[in-house]
Amino acid sequence: MLTLQCPYCGVQADETELSAGGEAHLTRHGPGSTEDEFHDYLFTRENPRGVHFERWRHTYGCGKWFHAARDTQTLEVFGTYKAQCTEPPKELRDAITAKRPGWTWREFS
């Protein structure tokens, strides 16, 4: 079973305690944005086979949202970090690069 460590309460939570919240670090385009930007924000997704950054909620625990970095091809969990981060912490990115040289992601918001 997938387990993720909640960065708030520290619990190593089972998947049954968590809710998946989809891709992380989307730029929330609103009024004034172009149609393309708004379309991409609403619908377009990275959906990579490999390194993926995503949002999770510790629903049946402390209730807080947080971020996780996982590999969708191996299901390896690289780490979790707080919801307030606008991009993954540098140590986490370095750790991923060491394991998956050459991985890329669109610009973080």
Partner: protein
């Protein structure tokens, strides 16, 4: 190609079956094709078949990274129905269902289409209203469905418990000509017919790049070297995002795991398909006697064809309330496939930002039923640039806010 027939079976029985030929050739790729289809699942093979049959385009290769039919086509629970809510959906799914009626004859291959009837149970007041609305919409669309009473449900499904404590059965949406077919046979039948038309099905050939020149597709890179083409059809279900990335664009698609399981074989006990969408479970009985069971998708992105165990548990738990006899069954095996989910739960059959490259994806949890109709429309789209069956399913609908919203209508959309 030698035709299959009762006579052929008798003839071969008398001579130790030495006269059967291979169902399809396994050629090496040529340097150039008019059309390359990526993905030898049901949708890719059907697209190729109707390109040949309806448009006379037979210089076609179908490239498959694994074995043909080894993706979702060989992993699904084979429910066929066309009781969708929106008009464009009803058009393509009903076209598909009606093609299934004569598919065995068309392909000279027994796909074991079994129009045994499909019931979608209404277990909340919300569902009662929703399915009554769908039945009315279907009447206008020319799709034969009916909203039936609990007692009619019980007649059709004697093993059902109508008065479950949480979710009593309040009625059902009944499509009498829905049913099941043999999934592998659909892929194999189309493959045999494509090969017979001179098309090359190349297995163990992974597409690793899309080659373009001036915004136009000119071919693909593969594990068997570069192959050129005039037009490219990408039909790779859960891997659509990976192929789009090779061509430099992104899709409104997420890939997640969907699982199914079968029980030990038991005597015939249920001769229709039953779906319980509120509780996320559905069930039918295979010809071998196994109860074929499926449920909902995982919530997180995944490319591993393995899903979360707790979803299996949830599905079985839900079914036990409605079918108490399930609690006495041993489950034999369980598996997963990677399904391609769009925001409005409707597929994408579309041109792409790359000229000459077309994409067919987003069938998600419910694209087995649509294999013939999707192939029919996709072939027309590739051959002529548009098709009345596919026009509403273009990628531009997300830009225009013109969704074909089946997420409310279908719930569990198999």
């Amino acid at each position: 190609m030698k035709r299959y027939s009762a006579f052929a079976v008798a003839r071969e029985a008398l001579r130790n079956h030495i006269g059967w030929e291979r169902a399809w050739r396994s050629p090496e790729p040529k340097r150039h094709y008019d059309v390359i289809i990526v993905g030898a699942g049901g949708h890719g093979l059907a697209t190729a078949y109707y390109l040949g049959k309806n448009f006379g385009i037979t210089n076609v290769a179908i490239l498959e990274k694994g074995w043909l039919g080894g993706g979702n086509t060989g992993r699904n629970t084979t429910i066929i129905r066309s009781n969708y809510l929106q008009d464009p959906s009803a058009a393509i799914y009903e076209k598909s269902r009606s093609l299934y009626e004569t598919l065995s004859q068309d392909l000279n291959y027994n796909v074991m289409f079994s129009p045994r009837g499909v019931i979608m149970l209404a277990q909340t007041q919300h569902e009662v209203r929703g399915y009554q609305r769908t039945a009315h919409a279907n009447a206008l669309q020319g799709v034969t469905t009916q909203f039936i009473s609990p007692s009619r449900v019980k007649e059709l499904v004697p093993i059902i418990n109508l008065s479950g404590p949480r979710y009593p059965v309040l009625g059902g949406l009944w499509q009498e000509r829905g049913g099941t077919a043999r999934h592998d046979a659909v892929a194999w039948g189309y493959a045999r017919a494509c090969s017979d038309m001179g098309m090359d099905i190349i297995q163990k050939c992974e597409v690793t790049g899309v080659r373009t020149e001036g915004g136009k597709v000119i071919g693909v890179e593969t594990s068997k070297g570069p192959i050129n083409c005039q037009k490219l059809g990408v039909v790779v279900a859960g891997h659509s995002g990976v192929l789009a990335d090779m061509a430099g664009f992104r899709l409104p698609i997420e890939s997640v795991a969907l699982q199914a399981l079968v029980s030990e074989p038991i005597k015939p006990c249920m001769d229709v398909v039953v779906m319980a969408n509120t509780v996320h479970g559905y069930m039918s009985q295979s010809d071998k006697g196994e109860m074929v069971i499926g449920g909902g998708t995982d919530g997180s992105n995944n490319y591993t064809q393995r899903g979360s165990f707790h979803h299996i548990e949830e599905t079985v738990r839900a079914l036990i309330e409605t079918f108490p006899m399930v609690s006495r069954l041993k489950m034999l095996r369980q598996w997963g496939g990677i399904v391609d989910i769009t925001g409005d739960r409707s597929p994408i059959l579309s041109k792409t930002p790359v000229e000459g490259m077309f994409i067919n994806c987003g069938w998600g949890t419910g694209g087995f039923k649509s294999i013939p109709g999707s192939g029919w429309g996709m072939a027309e789209l590739i051959a002529k640039g548009h098709s009345p069956l596919t026009d509403a399913f273009g990628l531009e609908r997300f830009h225009e806010g013109r969704f074909i919203d089946e997420s409310v209508a279908a719930g569990v959309a198999h």
